[in-house]
Structure formats: structure tokens, C-alpha cells
Amino acid sequence: MEPSWFPVREVRQELADTVTLELEPPGGAFSFLPGQFTMLYAFGVGEIPLSITGDPHDSGSLIQTIRGVGAVSEALTALRPGDRVGVRGPFGKPWPVDAARGGDVVIVAGGIGLAPLRPVVYDILTRRDEFGRVFVLYGARAPDELLFSDQLRGWRSRFDLEVMLTVDGAEHGWHGSVGVVPKLIKRADFDPETTTAFVCGPEVMIRFSATGLVKEGVVPTSIHVSMERNMQCGFGICGHCQFGPTFVCRDGPVYPWNEVRDLMLIKEI
């Protein structure tokens, strides 16, 4: 599969090691659904999978947030406006946002896991009256590692969104919560019977959060989680992303919790 070349329109430094690229679709438009990902190719260096983090109703840009942890991601975070990135995709099964209409929505994010969930918030806000109460529960390691902090502030000031943040640890002076995300789940007063939850973050956090949601009375088939494995081709022919009998790139990355709960407990699966 050949990449399409998208010029970088803007680079935004989010955190010390994390950058958001705004890319220009060469054909003028790029469509995707919340939860999908692309394979981004840094010319001559390599390719990595990245969640799309922009507004699905705005097809004029492709927005991707990248944390520089290896050769390819570091090459991508070093790009400047005008540079070109190879893009393949979008790939993967999206968050079932439509299925959440008519009830409460609980968005649970950890660390960089907020990036694939941001499109869900954008989507919901364009048709806010189709949903009940909407909660964004977000945890990160420390206050200066909260992703999209400006945006979070904006969301917090809205009356139609309930944003609860927590960090693993903070210095004196932080007036927010310190603790784990499952604790936010206990504190948020969503209606479990009508709730659809979308969970994304480190696998350990997903496990404890989904279990916490079930404990509060949310039905496992209404909890959706985004899994991660070593995705390389993006469409199920390279074999690397297998998670049990599924290909995360094609059967996921979004799965209903009841389908992955038992699989996740098998070591080294």
C-alpha cells in the first residue's frame, strides 16, 4: 500500500515529549471515524500507527498527536511546517458513538489515551442533545503531563460536560485530585443503566477502569475499550498485532469489554 503525502501545516508542542501535527490532506479532505488510526511514515525512517485525534466533522485537516519514544516517533515529532509525512489509512474499528445516544456517556482516559478519545468529545458536542450527561474522566502521571490542558480547561467551563481530572502524584499547590482513575469512576454520578463508556489508556488502567465501571453497574457490552498491539501493516496481513484470535488493526482497536475481558487475563497473550 502506497502512502499519500500530507504536508505539515502546524506543529504544536503539547508536553515535553509530545507534539500534535496538523496535516493537510492532499486531496483537500480526509474522512475518518473516532477511534481509527493511520500509519504515519517518516521518509526513510519508518512507519508507526497513530490514533487520529481531530474533529471527525472537520475533514479539512488530519490531526495526530505523537509521543517521541523511538526512532520513528522522534523523527515525526521533529517535523516542521512544510515537511511531508506519508499517510496510510484510516484503519480500524471506530468507537460506537451512535450506540451511546439516548443515555449517559462516560469517557475514561489515561495518559496519551486521551488522544483517540478526543474525537468522541468533538462528535458528541456537535449533536449534544442526542446524549444524556457526558463525563470525561482523565488521569495522567502529573499535572504537567495532562494532555490538551487548554482544551480540558475549555471543556471544564462548559455546563454540558463534566470533566474530572486526577494525577498519580503532584506537588503542593495542585488543587485537583491525586489518585487513580477508577476512583473517579466511583465518584462520578452517571446513571449506570443508560451509560455507554469509552475507555482508553495503558492496559492496566483499562482493566481496572472497566472492572470499576462494571462494579458500578454498567453493562459489559456497553463498555468499549481501545486495545494496542504491534500494528504494522494496518489491515491484517503482517500478523504482528494479533491479540488472541483477533487482529487489533482490523477487529479493533475498539472492542466491547465483554470480548476482551477474559483474554486480557491470560498472561503473554
Partner: protein
């Protein structure tokens, strides 16, 4: 399409090879090289392993001379058409960057190949790889290009080997479909040829052999029936998927891991294994980038790498992944079992691990109630 077989002989095969070359096909078939029967360029029947067979066992392979001049008297060698349709190393993209953007440099077109002497197990493997590479909404261009330009001439198997179990999977010893032409070599040196496609039919007509006699056809049938009974091994497929899914926590995997070297020989010789990785390179001045795909293996330590570590580091987890994928998950992914019973993984495993024996061991554990009592009921 004219389904009636014709009868020919060695000269007919030479005619076939010459005809295919004249039509612009590179003929690939069994040859002797490096002490084994391997696929290579065939320019005439001289290049075939005439009068040779191969004796195999777990971790053993050796060539042995026959007492006749059979053209296709061997079992199956370590290579399969996979080597050509899904090459061990192939360029998948090259591009040049310049001021205005990136320009794709077109790749060399794939050579057109005719595969002469494809065993039925390998035919089934090609069908399986078709499902992998061409079954989804996005096709793999490399495989598609090579597959569409291939001609396939099957050779029925009259000499199943010690490690063969195609009968258990319904993939042999006779070729049923997926070929352009299929041959059956009889002991008297005559060869039955039947067509399986319009292209094959045209070639068969041009070949001009005599219509096959009833006696020859009957002889061929009897040989196939006998071959089906002489398999060296067998695999019980009933309930295999559930059995393996439930065995995820079995201590059996640690027992195999104590023997398995995770050397990935099995994945290399397996005609259905398809995992591949892409390597990236750039020219010294950074102008030209190349992406090259090469075979990977789920046995490699970084196969499942994410976030600073691999998901499957233990040998037990990696063997479990391979076997569960091959015999169980494959069914949910592609609608068939991923194994064709060719026995190569058993023959070419340096320590002789036998996938059929491992499946039996897991089944026995379940049935004897060592693990889950409800399994005993399901699998007895």
C-alpha cells in the same frame, strides 16, 4: 472446459516446459540443491529430481535414490511456491524526495511464473494465502501481482512421507482444485494430465496426448486411495479450535518450551505462514527511501514488541501463539485451519517437535480430566 484426462510421458513434460517458456513464463519446479528437493528454475526434465526420493522424520531429511526414473518420486522439500508468491525479501516501495514532494519510483514488474509440480498440500496452502492476502477489502499488491500472473501445474502425491498428514485435513493426496493442470505419475512412466481451468485446458489441448485409458485412470485412483492410507501421521481436527483456546493456561506449553529453540525454522518452511516485517532504508544523502518486506516469525522476540517490551517473551507463550494461531485462531480469521498437513515443520524442526503429537498431548490432557472437567465431556 474438457475434463477428460490425457496420457503423456516424460517427453510431454519437456514439451510443457518449452511451451510455457515460449509463452513467457519462468518455469519453477522441484530440483536437487543443497541436499534437498527445492524449487528452482527448470529448463527441461533434466533439472527434475529424476530417480530421487526424500526420507523424512522429525528433525530428519535425507535424499535417497530410487530404483526407477520417476520424475516426481519425492515427498515434499523445504520450499513451497510461497517462496515466489510471498517472497522472503521483496521491495514494496521506493520513493525520491525533492523540493516539491515525494515521487514514487515504480517497482520492477514481477516475473510471470509457471509452477510445475505443486503438491496438493501446497495447492491448499496457496488457497489459504489467497484468503490472507486477497480476502480482505485491501489486497496485498505484491502477492496479487505474482499470483495473478502464475500458472499452476499440480502433481498428485503417490508417496506420502513419514511426517505427512494431509488426509487428516482433506488437502491431499490428490489435487482437487486450485490448479490449471494436474498430473499423476504412474509407475510405468506414463503421466495422466487433467485440466482445472480454461488456461490449463488450452495447454492440455495443445499438448495433444492420447485420451487416458480406463486402466490408467483406475490405476491412478487406486494409487491415490493407497496413498491416503499411508500417511505417516494424523491430526484429529474435531473440536480442535475450542480445545486450543481453552488450553491457553495449560502447563503443556512450558513442556514444549523446554524443547523448542524458537529458531523459527517451522515458520520459514510452513507454506501458509505469512507474517512479515518491513525494513526501512534511506540512501546516504537521504533522497531515496526504500521499504523492503521480509519474512518475520512469531517466534522472534520482538515480534510482539510494544512500549519498551514484548508481550510474548517466554518460549511457552511464543510456541502457544504459533500453534494456537495455526490450528485454531486461523479458523476464526480465515474460515479454514491454517495447517495443510505437509509435515515440513516436523521434518525441519532441529529438535523434532511434532505438531500432531503436541495436539494429541493437549487433547489427552483435557480428556483425562487433568484440567477442566467440562472439557472431558466435550472432547471424549
Amino acid at each position: 472446459m474438457d475434463l477428460s484426462p490425457i496420457l503423456t510421458d516424460r517427453r510431454g513434460v519437456d514439451w510443457l516446459i518449452a511451451h510455457l517458456e515460449a509463452e513467457g513464463y519462468e518455469v519453477v519446479g522441484p530440483t536437487i540443491a543443497d541436499g534437498a528437493v527445492v524449487y528452482g528454475r527448470v529448463r527441461s526434465t533434466e533439472d527434475l529430481p529424476i530417480g530421487w526420493t526424500d526420507v523424512q522424520g522429525p528433525g530428519e531429511y535425507r535424499l535417497v535414490q530410487r530404483d526407477d526414473d520417476a520424475l516426481f518420486g519425492y515427498v515434499v522439500g523445504p520450499t513451497s511456491p510461497k517462496q515466489f508468491l510471498h517472497p522472503p525479501q521483496v521491495k514494496v516501495w521506493t520513493g525520491r524526495a525533492h523540493g516539491d514532494g515525494v515521487e514514487t519510483i515504480p517497482l520492477d514488474p514481477a516475473p510471470r511464473r509457471a509452477f510445475l509440480g505443486v503438491r496438493p498440500c501446497d495447492l491448499a496452502a496457496i488457497d489459504i494465502q489467497d484468503r490472507v492476502f486477497l480476502g480482505g477489502s485491501i489486497h496485498d499488491a505484491v502477492y496479487e501481482d505474482r499470483r495473478r500472473s502464475s500458472i499452476i501445474i499440480a502433481i498428485d502425491c503417490t508417496e506420502p512421507g513419514e511426517t505427512c498428514f494431509c488426509s487428516s485435513l482433506g488437502t491431499g493426496p490428490a489435487a482437487s482444485d486450485g490448479f490449471d493442470l494436474a498430473m499423476t505419475e504412474l509407475p510405468d512412466g506414463t503421466i495422466l494430465v487433467r485440466s482445472g481451468s480454461d488456461i490449463g485446458d488450452a495447454i492440455k489441448t495443445a499438448m495433444g496426448g492420447e485420451p487416458a485409458t480406463e486402466a490408467a485412470i483406475d490405476r491412478a485412483h487406486l494409487m491415490m486411495e493407497a496413498a491416503a492410507e499411508r500417511m505417516g501421521r494424523s491430526l484429529q481436527t474435531a473440536g480442535l479450535k475450542e480445545l486450543l483456546y481453552r488450553a491457553a493456561r495449560s502447563p503443556h506449553w512450558d513442556e514444549v518450551a523446554a524443547r523448542c529453540l524458537t529458531c523459527s525454522n517451522c515458520t520459514m518452511v510452513c507454506p501458509t505462514c505469512f507474517c512479515a516485517v518491513v525494513d526501512d532504508e534511506a540512501s546516504l544523502n537521504g533522497d531515496v527511501a526504500t521499504r523492503t518486506r521480509r519474512w518475520d516469525s512469531c517466534f522472534s522476540l520482538d515480534f510482539s514488541y510494544i512500549h519498551g517490551g514484548s508481550v510474548r517473551t517466554s518460549g511457552a507463550a511464543r510456541y502457544r501463539q504459533w500453534m494456537t494461531h495455526k490450528l485454531a485462531s486461523w479458523q476464526d480469521q480465515f474460515g479454514v485451519i491454517g495447517c495443510v498437513g505437509c509435515g515440513r515443520c516436523i521434518t525441519w524442526c532441529p529438535v523434532g517437535i511434532d505438531i500432531t503429537a503436541e495436539a494429541t498431548a493437549i487433547r489427552d490432557r483435557a480428556v483425562s480430566g487433568l484440567e477442566d472437567p467440562s472439557l472431558k465431556e466435550a472432547f471424549e
